[in-house]
Amino acid sequence: MDAELSRIAADVLRPGEQILWAGKPVRGSRLPLPPYFGILVGGFLLLPILIYAVSSDHSIAALVINLVPIVFIFGLIALVFAKLRGKYASAAHNTFLLTENRAVHVFSHAQVSNVASVPLRKGTSVRLFKGRSTAGDLLIRRKAGRKDGDAATSTFMLGRSAWAGIRFSGVPHAEHVRDVAERAIAKNQQFEPEIHENPGG
């Protein structure tokens, strides 16, 4: 454990909390786009292609003219997302921790610190978005609880809070890290603990 990790661990860990895994983002993982972005782009590209297929006039030029602006707009949206989320994929400013109870993301830069944590318990899911190499993104999120009505103001009617989880971008050996998180969730599930909103990082 290097000096930086020791400092971060001392700052964010609760007394007696054990680290299962710690790491930083690596380069070469996938573009930091939201999940289902590819499906959305595909859907919009499919529409003009379907129209082209069913129409009697098969003009390739018209199809290309129609597809280019859609690709351009989605490309622009992807660029904005990559720019906004990029700072959370930089190794210099981000540290990911998995403890026996929590997944913690620490962002730290220029006297700004952001510590986000999600409990690894019943109701938490870990989803892996694999990159080309062994690196990938992990989306660790909570299902909205019954008492969580106002927090779970639905985004696009998906019935989940906009901030109901955290993302580990560019995690090295992502499959292994997902397994570690899932094992911790399974272990904690056996005890069926209640979530208490206690302070402490």
Binding site: S113, R142, F156, A164, I195
Partner: protein, 207 residues
């Protein structure tokens, strides 16, 4: 000071992080629902009835074989969808679960919902920029970010600014004055100088 406005969990968390001499100046919560600004509301009002028009234009274009209509419609539908979903995502921001605390040294934001917790923390000194933004319906957002200079670059390598925001406040004057006072009195933070390498260490590294 409106300490009663924030939960015990947030106060305890902040008290744990207070440094000697640091005192809480203000604490508060945002308005629970983020309103849209008047121009955004006007745009959504215009776009909502326009979306079915594009759908009808697509069907009509296909029926009569009009190239202009059936090739322009998907683009129109895409732009309308982005505007409608964008406004929905702003209103879906769960700010009701955020709480803010301002000390004479730092700004804290704390989000807590269903187990997920996010604690934002920012130093208030001479290099802190305070931006005030009107949100609509009389609410204001305060954004704290770092100013641009050689030692403390504002941007994270061109990938976006590191910041802490107090969103959607009904009364932003008290925290604004407290933050401005903190920024004025606190000396500019000097990052610790990197350890100097001695000749012996240099020789060791070469070997």
């Amino acid at each position: 000071m409106e300490n009663s406005a924030v939960s015990d969990a947030t106060l305890t968390l902040v008290y744990q992080r207070l440094t000697p001499g640091e005192q809480i100046l203000w604490a508060g919560r945002p308005e629970p629902i983020v309103p849209l600004a008047w121009n955004s509301r006007l745009l959504v009002l215009f776009v909502k009835p326009t979306l079915p028009v594009f759908v009808l234009a697509l069907i009509f274009g296909l029926a009569v074989g009009s190239k202009v209509l059936y090739f322009a419609s998907p683009m129109g539908m895409l732009i309308c969808s982005i505007v409608i979903l964008g406004s929905k995502s702003i209103r879906a921001m769960p700010v009701a679960h955020e709480e803010y605390v301002l000390t004479n040294l730092r700004a804290f934001s704390h989000f807590q919902s269903n187990g997920t917790r996010i604690l934002g923390e920012m130093l208030l000194d001479g290099n802190t920029l305070i931006q005030k933004r009107r949100c609509g319906q009389g609410t204001t957002t305060l954004v704290f970010s770092r100013s641009q200079n050689a030692t403390e670059p504002r941007k994270v390598k061109g990938l976006g600014t590191a910041r802490v925001g107090f969103l959607n406040l009904r009364d932003a004057e008290s925290p604004l004055k407290a933050a401005e006072w903190s920024v004025a009195i606190n000396p500019i933070f000097q990052p610790p100088a990197p350890a100097t390498i001695t000749n012996l260490e240099r020789a060791w590294t070469r070997n």
